[in-house]
């Protein structure tokens, strides 16, 4: 009897946590819609939303609708998904590489994305093409990483991480080359600003293009969450427990690389989310991926949305969100590391 209760208790606690986090997500989402340089009272926001959804024809300022639905909504939704997806990819990569210090950028994505974006800024100067090129080079860098890691006789996780480091650095050097030749008054600041990460340029279009992939990727990772437990024990033991680690790892790497590449291509390089969120969640809820992955997904969105709200409103001009995630992420990370090792 006692045993049964204890397993049911942990499941119950998990469902309660999920429920609580979903409510929290909705509340912070609504709050973020009212919040900004142009502050809209919470009740008014609520009215505008109801008016739009149910076509109530209430007598409201048309500008409010534009601010809420055309400017803030796409950005907030994309921020939430990017936060969620970076956290999921960080936690998944930590599992398959058996290393808690691995980030979603471990396979060289940040270098490739930065180079692609710089190329786009230099030759097109159109946000859409910048995103496309950044996405393309992210994928190229991951494919190169996988290719390089396979030329060794043992295709181990260490090989992959090393190859990611090499390819990432290669693209970072190529990026420096582009920056060196870029016009220092117009192009160079744009490249630098892009590299700091920002959700400034998100419109409806970006939201509609990226949302389906974010949703499908999230569903797939959540379905595979038990396998991450098995993979986290290392390749040999995954075989002992009946898995085919090579194929399984390739599937998870593909999903995560696609999700990370898409995030980076529309928001720049946002560091520390994929590292800080998994550690906070693991510290509170334990390492079991059955719970860790869904909770990280829901906590990551809250975490990045709160930081993005700060970036939007702290000063008159927006602070790049990538700077804030690092400034806020590092002390949290240090705290969790110190508490966890006690």
């Amino acid at each position: 009897m006692v045993k049964q209760l204890s397993t049911q208790k942990s499941k119950k606690a998990f469902y309660l946590t999920i429920f609580f986090l979903i409510i929290l997500n909705i509340l912070i989402f609504l709050f973020s819609l009212s919040f900004g340089r142009y502050n809209i009272p919470f009740l008014t926001t609520f009215k505008v939303i109801l008016n739009k959804i149910f076509n109530l024809n209430m007598n409201l300022d048309k500008n409010l609708e534009i601010v809420i639905f055309n400017i803030r909504l796409p950005r907030i939704i994309v921020v939430m998904f990017v936060g969620s997806v970076l956290s999921q990819c960080g936690v998944s990569f930590q599992g398959i590489f058996n290393n808690p210090l691995v980030s979603p950028y471990i396979l060289g994505i940040s270098g490739g994305a930065g180079f692609g974006a710089a190329l786009g800024i230099l030759y097109f100067n159109n946000f859409f093409y910048v995103s496309i090129l950044s996405f393309l080079f992210s994928i190229i860098s991951v494919l190169l990483t996988i290719f390089v890691s396979r030329t060794g006789k043992i295709a181990s996780s260490i090989n992959l991480v090393l190859s990611g480091f090499i390819i990432g650095n290669l693209f970072t050097s190529l990026l420096s080359l582009l920056k060196y030749y870029a016009d220092p008054f117009s192009k160079l600041p744009t490249i630098d600003f892009w590299l700091m990460g920002s959700f400034n340029s998100i419109t409806r279009k970006e939201m509609l293009y990226t949302l389906p992939i974010f949703i499908i990727g999230t569903i797939l990772l959540i379905l595979l969450r038990w396998k991450l437990n098995i993979l986290s024990l290392g390749d040999d033991e995954a075989i002992v427990l009946g898995e085919n680690p090579k194929i399984l790892k390739l599937i998870i790497i593909s999903i995560c690389s696609l999700l990370t590449a898409i995030s980076v291509s529309i928001s720049g390089i946002i560091g520390w989310v994929g590292l800080a969120v998994p550690h906070i969640v693991r510290f509170i809820f334990g390492p079991d991926y059955r719970y860790l992955l869904p909770i990280s997904a829901l906590f990551g969105s809250i975490y990045l949305l709160l930081i993005d709200n700060i970036s939007r409103t702290l000063t008159t001009s927006e602070i790049p969100v990538g700077i804030l995630t690092a400034i806020i992420g590092t002390p949290i990370f240090i705290y969790v590391l110190r508490r966890a090792s006690k």
């Binding site: 049964q4 599992g95 038990w226 033991e237 002992v240 427990l241 009946g242």
Partner: protein, 256 residues
Amino acid sequence: MKKIIIKDLSFGYFDTEIFRNFSLEIDEGETLTILGPNGSGKTTLLKLIQKIILPKSGDIIISGKNINDLSNKALSKSTSFVPQIHKQTFPYKVIDFVLMGRNPYISDYSTPKEEDIEIANKVLEEMGLYYLKDRPYTDISGGELRLVLIARGIVQNTEILLLDEPTAYLDFKNQLIVLETIKELKKKKKLTVIMTLHNPNEAYKYSDKILLIKKGEVASYGKPIDVINCENLKRVYSIDVEIVRYNGETIIYAKK
């Protein structure tokens, strides 16, 4: 009945050949200990049976089925493997770690069911490890960790249990506990056990058969009393050995 048949097995790491046309038959319900110097291929043989590594040529047949034709999942329902070294990266609770032994029975895209959790709990109880259930498995002693790894193998509910040096790094008492546990489990679950050991005393006492190998070749194979003698051990380890019988026990020690 023959449980495992190994036929003309060849295997090498890079350019070092370990097995060449190696053949062996193992009876059902036996405890077989593989004994031999470092680098003689003991662990390699266990890994080949579990398909952690693949042979250059040759066949391994388990319960009449060639393991080449079995998926990892199918194989993991008939053999489980207790590794010598286990890297503990994340602090899983002991129960959650043992539960991972149910993986072969959990369908893709799913998580363990109530009955899987019950099986894991029951095995922990049977093995006297229930008190560890909610502890992080990174915080338990080396002896406890070895037993927890064995528990994961038992939870896998296989007919064959492979153990790679189950007594390595353990203190005197824990060596005894682990070997007694294996003996008891084998009897209760009617397992076929294959393990590697370094201590001929342990091998003599806890095996039905002993395979003495040197550089991938069978030096001697049979009942402990036939395999463990001064000539055989000298041939394999190149040291002089004395065997004493005292109070019904057999004690093997190296002479300087």
